[in-house]
Subunit: 315 residues, 2 copies
């Protein structure tokens, strides 16, 4: 151990810390040259790469007091792995750039890396490169690379007559965040859902193989992301309230806070559920039909405009 | 124009600003799906990808008062394109994540993007995806993807008996930064060298084809990066002072500031020159032999330890 356990990143020093971080990340068989050179080199099959990038900023996307470093590592990885899932693909390689205040505990950075690596291991993806910089506040930028076994499913392919379907827990993370925001720590299952989302990592590929016409991962909010699908596809989307089973813990939080439990489901992101459209009501196992696609441009709930919060506003 | 010219990023709004930014980036023929979906899809030739990531933080890596948004865009792209150059490859695709304070002028973001796109155009690379987040200070995280036409040149291949050679301007950006740091704006050629480095983008590939055994891009400082080569290769490197021609403007700055002009050359980064090792003194055109490789572990100057600054310390 080249630096004491309570060292800050500044005390640990860039190169010793990078050396420790590198040890956290096992390298998959696609990695011809791993971290430590000017660039990594990856073997690519299928003749294509699917690539996406995301930036998470402390205070905007996470708070150290609401989740452990390990949890935040899981969340940061999940947000990116999920983008490849939403194309019908599977991630294989990621890079992380970490902007850290000088007084960040080096142990925080290592635990973050461990959580990140654990989440990546769920899909056999490797962290193949990174960067470490000094910043006023904590910033994590991730880029993920993956591949598809068939044509990628875009946001733009929904057709009038398709059904809208959902796969994965939805509204759990948002209600967990609402609980934390009020200073509580329970229902624990919701707080955990916020801290460690469980995106349905196989569902994207299965949906693609089952003929999904459009797909998106719900990160802004169900209705906000339905709007992205509607806009890119040039269609109208209607969501049915009665399609959602409202799980007991969500009902409990809604009752305790006086909120409509549907607002967590319709407006929440962070679970990284998938929203897809399919040409018939026969959706793959694990998917639930929650609405329909028609000609037009609006996103409605039970045929009418929705006046609750529809999702995350970044600015 | 969906927002006024003097709007902040917050006033412009995330999605209108992203739409404007997207228009700045032309898409190359490798781009099967460009920005705007959950992920981009790229056609990959040669069965591999070379990938690297870098984070630039305001106050650490750039200052808005020392360079225009367009210049900073050029610098951010150059730093990343150069990492692929140093593998003997060529970049084809990049992603950018921008963390912006709410009050950042939207025009700054657009001019940054234009400068970034101009630099990428020098090597026919495309910006295929991005993210925009609110942050306390300005942070830019870039990931670059590229490919090689032959085996990538690593840091670890230098052999005793090799010569050490340099390609590209070296020390110009560091002396330009020294000038700016003292509140001056001239010699203009050095200030411009800092603001818009001119990495030798073809030199990496040519070096690889000419049998370079190891290579690195000088971003930390010539001696600091020579140390990375020495450590990864398990060799000693000696740099010869008399190998460097000291350009007139560097002499002028050194005279005016009482500095040794060699300190800009030996300690400076930011020009993104290439440092490589070759098995014989016959180095490719454009490269200058500046030292030698031997058994051992030290990095020396004229056979002795160097006691000046050897490069950038991040933490």
């Amino acid at each position: 151990m080249p630096f004491p356990g309570d060292a800050t990143v500044s005390e640990a020093g860039e190169f010793p810390l990078i050396a420790r971080l590198r040890d956290v990340f096992p390298q998959g068989e696609q990695v011809l040259v791993g971290p430590g050179d000017d660039a990594a080199v990856l073997r690519i099959r299928n003749g294509h790469v699917v690539v996406s990038t995301d930036m998470l900023v402390e205070g905007q996307h996470f708070r150290r007091e609401w989740a452990s470093a390990c949890d935040i590592g899981h969340r940061a990885a999940a947000a990116n792995l999920s983008d490849i899932n939403a194309m019908g693909g599977r991630a294989h390689s990621l890079t992380i750039a970490l902007g850290a205040p000088r007084d960040l505990p080096a142990a925080w950075a290592l635990e973050f890396a461990e959580g990140f690596a654990e989440e990546c291991a769920l899909v056999d993806a490797s962290v193949v490169g990174g960067d470490l910089a000094v910043a006023d506040s904590l910033v994590v930028a991730v880029t993920v690379l993956g591949s598809c076994t068939q044509a990628p499913v875009l946001r733009s392919g929904a057709e009038p007559g398709d059904v809208l379907a959902l796969c994965g827990r939805q509204g759990w993370a948002a209600s967990g965040l609402a609980v934390l925001g009020r200073g509580f720590r329970s229902p624990r299952v919701l707080v955990e859902a916020y801290r460690r989302p469980e995106p349905p990592y196989d569902a994207g590929r299965i949906a693609a193989e089952s003929g999904a016409t459009a797909m998106i991962d719900i990160s802004d909010g169900l209705l906000a992301d339905a709007r992205h699908l509607a806009e890119e596809s040039g269609v109208a989307i209607d969501v049915r309230r009665d399609a959602f089973e409202i799980a007991e813990p969500l009902q409990a939080v809604a009752a305790a806070t006086g909120a409509d439990p549907l607002q967590f489901i319709l407006g929440g992101g962070d679970d990284h559920a998938l929203l897809g459209t399919f040409p018939s009501a026969e959706v793959p196992e694990g998917w639930t039909v929650v609405g329909s696609v028609a000609e037009g441009a609006a996103v409605t709930v039970d045929g009418a405009p929705y006046d609750g919060p529809t999702g995350w506003t970044h600015f």
